[in-house]
């Protein structure tokens, strides 16, 4: 549990196609197991591409993304396995993030089987423990993804990420699709995991309130660049960049009080 998990972005650029548009344009960023980072920005600001590179689903066109000093794009199978055990993602789209033909149990158990090499019985035990920890009935896991509610499915998505006990948890719009009442409960689960296991959190969302609730450091993205990166209070109350002021003001004006610092 004492090993560190550091992901370092150095001048990362990600462009698509020949002369196509540049989703991420010169980002440098460091996150580790002590981070509670919130990444905010409007849709199209490059957040999702950043996330995909952070978890190793995509690779930069220029610059490097390194995990504990090793470029993720150049990793050998064993290194990649260690990386996958350490960094996990809760994805945006819960409806399509589960194979419609396989049970939820199968999906949650799979990382243990592949990454930890556990047999089915042992993995099932660990799956049940994780599910109970998230307030899910293990019986539900025998259903197909469309046979549970959206909130339950999102908890299964979290369970799938947490079952390998990652050192760094990345959430990409993880609560955006949920009812406000469910959002709070899910956010608390995420926070509790990170507190109890000493894991880092990267929380990506276009919603400032939820992000400010879980993060103590805020990164603001705008048109593929990081325009602001600092402690939560500083970003919220003394923003340096014009775009950040617009973003914060927008939330103020809509009367969303949770935009201010929660207790």
């Amino acid at each position: 549990m004492s090993t560190s998990a550091t992901v370092q972005f150095s001048d990362v650029v990600r462009a698509f196609g020949r002369g196509g548009h540049t989703a991420v344009d010169g980002v440098s960023l460091l996150v580790d197991e002590t981070s509670r980072v919130g990444v905010v920005g409007e849709s199209g600001s490059g957040k999702s591409t950043l996330v995909r590179m952070l978890v190793g689903l995509d690779h930069p066109s220029a610059g490097t993304v390194e995990f504990n000093g090793r470029s993720i794009a150049a990793m050998l199978p064993d290194e990649l396995r260690a990386f996958r055990l350490a960094v996990q993602l809760v994805a945006q789209d819960t409806t399509s993030s589960f194979d419609p033909r396989r049970t939820l149990r199968d999906a949650v158990r799979r990382p243990l089987e592949v990454l930890r090499g556990m047999d089915v019985a042992a993995a099932d035990g660990a799956v049940d423990a994780t599910l109970r920890g998230l307030g899910l009935d293990p019986q539900l896991a025998n259903r197909l993804p469309h046979q549970v509610s959206g909130g339950q499915r999102q908890r299964f998505a979290i369970a799938r990420a947490l079952v390998v006990r990652p050192r760094l948890l990345v959430c990409d719009e993880a609560v955006s699709a949920l009812d406000v009442s469910v959002q709070g409960a899910v956010l608390n689960l995420v926070k509790r995991y990170c507190r109890e296991h000493g894991a880092g959190l990267v929380f990506v969302s276009h919603g400032l309130p939820a992000t400010a609730f879980v993060a103590d450091r805020l990164v603001v993205m705008h048109r593929g660049r990081v325009v602001e990166d600092g402690p939560r209070e500083q970003v919220l109350f003394r923003p340096e960049h014009a775009y950040t002021r617009t973003l914060v003001d927008a939330h103020r004006r809509t009367g969303d009080r949770r935009g201010s610092v929660p207790a």
Partner: protein, 294 residues
């Protein structure tokens, strides 16, 4: 393409969600029996038929051109072979060829569709080859099936294996195209990302997730492929390049019966033609029952 896309597990607001798997859990009623019965009967005739026919189907058993009568229910053809015995005995040959063809074309189509769909967007020679194969699948539709079948049989002979191979070549491209389209859709699904995060190797991922989620259009279409294979087998037989006579086969029988029909003796061609049409109907009815509502 007449296939309707089944609902996938993409729940729309308020709509009740239903399983993505097509098939089991249907109600069985008179209509269902009506749809499955002809296909079942056909299989029974194909298996049992050759052993219970009244006359040996390959031998001259009576005077030529006898109209249907009590001894020869469907009459005899211009050579004096019993039309009823031959029509029944043909069932196993035509059905076997069509069944094997449908199986080979579907399996090959699924494999090709997977291969093309997974590699089409790649850079380098693999992607280039995959894109070439993809265009070839499109273009293969351009050349008439019976022409390709005719030439292949001409090259490779007219035994059951070579007929199956020739027809599979003709019918595989469409199956491949159907699967390719699905693979392209599945490739965008988030559960493939999830599998990658779970450490799944590419090959296992295709096996566990891409294959089961993209093969269904080819499986649905298999009954139609079966129908096409029967018609093409008979068509080649009709042209005189199918299974060599006196092997009983509907197309060959119709070819033999055609001059008789022109001379007013309808029976030698009519009965095999009916058998042919009934088999095609039976299989398409079965296909509709298995894969569609209603």
């Amino acid at each position: 393409m007449t296939l309707s896309a089944p609902e996938l597990a993409t729940p729309t607001a308020g709509a009740p969600e239903r399983p993505a798997t097509a098939g089991p859990g249907r109600r069985w009623n008179a209509q269902a029996v009506l749809a499955v019965l002809p296909a079942g009967l056909l299989v029974v005739v194909a298996i049992v038929g050759p052993f219970v026919v009244p006359y040996p189907p390959r031998d001259v058993v009576a005077a030529p051109d006898l109209p249907p009568n009590a001894a020869h229910w469907f009459g005899t053809d211009s050579a004096g072979l019993d039309v009823f015995s031959r029509t029944v005995a043909s069932t196993s040959n035509d059905l076997l060829i069509a069944l094997l063809t449908a199986a080979v074309a579907t399996v090959a189509g699924i494999l090709i569709g997977l291969l093309v769909g997974m590699n089409e967007a790649r850079r380098g020679p693999v992607g280039f080859l995959a894109r070439g194969l993809s265009r070839t699948l499109d273009l293969a539709q351009a050349v008439p099936a019976i022409v390709v079948g005719l030439v292949l049989v001409g090259f490779f002979g007219a035994s059951i294996p070579s007929l199956v191979a020739a027809l599979a070549v003709v019918l595989t491209p469409n199956q491949g195209r159907l699967v390719r389209t699905e693979v392209l859709r599945v490739r965008g699904e988030a559960y493939l990302d999830a599998a990658r995060l779970a450490g799944e190797r590419p090959f296992r991922m295709v096996l566990r997730h891409v294959l089961p989620n993209s093969a269904w259009p080819a499986l649905e279409n298999a009954t139609l492929v079966f129908g096409s294979a029967i018609v093409l087998t008979a068509g080649l037989g009709f042209l005189g390049v199918g299974l060599p006579p006196p092997t009983p086969e509907w197309g060959t029988m119709i070819a033999v019966g055609a001059p008789s029909a022109a001379a007013g003796r309808w029976w030698a061609a009519l009965f095999p033609a009916i058998a042919l049409a009934v088999s095609v109907f039976a299989m398409s009815a079965l296909g509709r029952r298995l894969f569609r509502d209603g």
